[in-house]
């Protein structure tokens, strides 16, 4: 079976972004960009399905700027067989991405699509579920284990208070949580091999989809800054402060 995995190019998780002075957004010029960490877990999961003989082909898909090809190369270096870039300069919101992914899914006909549970830039956490609904497919979000058997995906999900296990009829959508796997370290030979793997570039207009943002961002500001408090010399002083000053114990 074919597996699609969706990857997003985001500001690297180690970068502390700055809000632009005019309140129009955050300054992402000249900052390090990387693959969204949860998408890396998704690509690793798809790759392991292929290595186990469950998946026949892994296709990595990204939507966005030309530079997203670099993100696709990383996915190819982890183990995806080929890439598809839906190239656009538009500011992409989750609903538009889901519509674009749906078009790619309809063309490629995979049995499973694995995405990260959340992108660390917009923190929306919607794309997988939106895609599942648009396709009328079942979904399992926040996955920590995936097993394919008898035409179904048996997925363990991280939920509040513990775990739950669902059975999804294939084709299905899964979104990856932190503990699904630990993505492999990408080796130089694999980076070199990835350069030879094909990336197909398509446009939203090829699918007749308008990717324009719908939610209007009126302004972006810094969050209120929490002031640092005081350092205390010992446990006794700490307990006294908590009791008398803060009155929380």
């Amino acid at each position: 079976m074919k597996v699609i995995t969706a990857v997003k190019r985001v500001v690297d998780y180690n970068v502390k972004v700055r809000v632009k002075a005019d309140g129009s957004g955050v300054d992402i010029g000249n900052v390090k960009m990387s693959m969204n960490p949860f998408d890396e877990i998704a690509v690793e999961a798809a790759t392991r399905l292929k290595e186990a003989g469950t998946a026949s082909e892994v296709i990595a898909v990204s939507c966005g700027l030309t530079q997203s090809q670099e993100t696709l190369r990383t996915a190819l270096a982890i183990g995806a067989d080929r890439g598809v870039l839906v190239e656009t300069d538009a500011e992409l919101q989750p609903l538009a991405v889901a519509k674009l992914l749906k078009a790619v899914v309809e063309k490629e006909q995979p049995q499973l699509v694995i995405l990260g549970k959340q992108a660390i830039d917009d923190d929306a956490g919607q794309t997988g579920q939106l895609l599942a609904a648009l396709l009328d497919w079942p979904q399992a979000t926040f996955a920590s284990n995936i097993e394919i058997k008898d035409g179904a995906a048996i997925v363990t999900r991280e939920v509040d208070g513990g775990l739950e296990v669902l059975s999804l009829r294939l084709p299905a959508i899964v979104t990856a949580d932190l503990r699904l796997n630990e993505p492999r370290y990408v080796t130089l030979p694999n980076i070199m091999k990835a350069k030879k793997k094909p990336i197909e570039v398509v446009k939203p207009s090829d699918f007749g989809i308008d990717p324009s943002p719908r939610l209007k961002t009126l302004k972006v500001v810094e969050p209120p800054v929490r002031k640092a408090g005081v350092m205390v010399p010992d446990v006794a002083t700490l307990v006294a402060k908590l009791k008398i000053e803060a009155k929380v114990i």
Binding site: D123, A133, S144, L215, A228, V230, L238
Partner: protein, 309 residues
């Protein structure tokens, strides 16, 4: 204008996340209806009907809602959606799972993790792990949003007397089925609603050492949380994770032990009322948000602190 709030529950008890979401709903529109979709969940519907400030409970009781499967719950919400201008879910694992399925079918751009309601179409939400706050406006006819529970007070659970109206259940989608649940049983309060949270980080060094937090948590009546580093290292389960991609907490008192304070962790706890940090590194970023900082060896400080309470 009427808002539909989707109640979160386990068929027996209403989750407090629902009460916080109801408060957000009351800031929006004239009317507030609450959907209770469950199986043998009459007690939940009765509980909701007593919550102050709501006008109607819509109760749907059928076996296909027993386990909160997103496909079925979303279909039920969609069957009612035409009566509403806003549909709100708590931004919990359950709400985040289901809300986008509703938004997609309504062709609405969901607003995730709302922290403030400015008007019926304008909301604030954090982006980049809370390092920026975006004000967004939606012109969708039905606005679908998830509500960050720590940003809104809980609605009064008593004093209301809303009518409970039964609605017809949509059929089981047949797309997914529930197999089993492994819920950790604990005497401790639930992490996101605890008055005190004691959290441990990589500084604790091992799973065994992580248990050193237990006596302190017991003394404080606290829930136990963890940094992503501690979860990654296998010291603590993932559902204890506090941070951008874990739980968002805002207790009265947050005690961070051996946590350096990566921005992703701060995103999950910096709205706590009082923050205490214990760390051996005086330059750790956690001290920049702590009300009270104590530099030293946590293996000496933890027992001493527990003893002196």
């Amino acid at each position: 204008m009427t808002t539909l709030v989707i109640a979160e529950h386990d068929n027996v008890q209403l989750k407090t996340s629902t009460l916080h979401t109801i408060t957000a709903a009351r800031l929006l529109a004239n009317g507030v209806h609450v959907l209770v979709a469950g199986s043998c969940a009459q007690s939940v519907a009765d509980t909701v009907s007593k919550v102050a400030g709501i006008d109607k409970v819509i109760f749907v009781d059928a076996p296909q809602f027993a386990d909160g499967l997103a496909e079925n719950v979303a279909a039920q919400v969609l069957s009612l959606a035409s009566d509403y201008t806003h549909i709100l879910f708590p931004a919990t694992a359950a709400g985040k799972n289901t809300a986008p399925r509703v938004a997609a079918k309504l062709d609405a751009s969901q607003i995730s993790d709302v922290i403030a309601v400015e008007s019926a179409d304008t909301f604030q939400r954090p982006v980049y792990a809370g390092n920026a706050i975006a004000t967004v406006q939606s012109d969708d006819p039905v606005k679908v949003a998830t509500i960050r529970t720590t940003a809104f007070d809980a609605a009064q659970p008593n004093g209301g007397k809303a009518t409970v109206e039964t609605a017809a259940a949509v059929a089981d989608s047949g797309l997914s089925s529930f197999i089993r649940r492994e819920v950790a049983t604990s005497d401790r309060p639930e992490l996101t609603s605890a008055r005190v949270v004691v959290s441990g980080g990589r500084g604790l060094g091992s799973k065994e050492n992580f248990a050193l937090l237990d006596p302190l948590a017991a003394k404080l009546g606290a829930s136990v949380g963890a940094s992503r580093a501690a979860v990654d290292s296998g010291f603590a389960p993932n559902d204890w994770q506090v941070g951008q991609t874990g739980k968002i907490v805002a207790p009265e008192l947050y005690v961070a032990v051996g946590i350096s304070g990566a921005i992703q962790h701060l995103a999950g706890m910096k709205d706590s009322k009082v923050i205490v940090a214990v760390n051996k590194d005086a330059d750790a970023p956690i001290f920049s948000v702590a009300d009270y900082g104590l530099v030293g060896d946590l293996f000496e400080i933890l027992p001493a602190l527990t003893q002196s309470l």
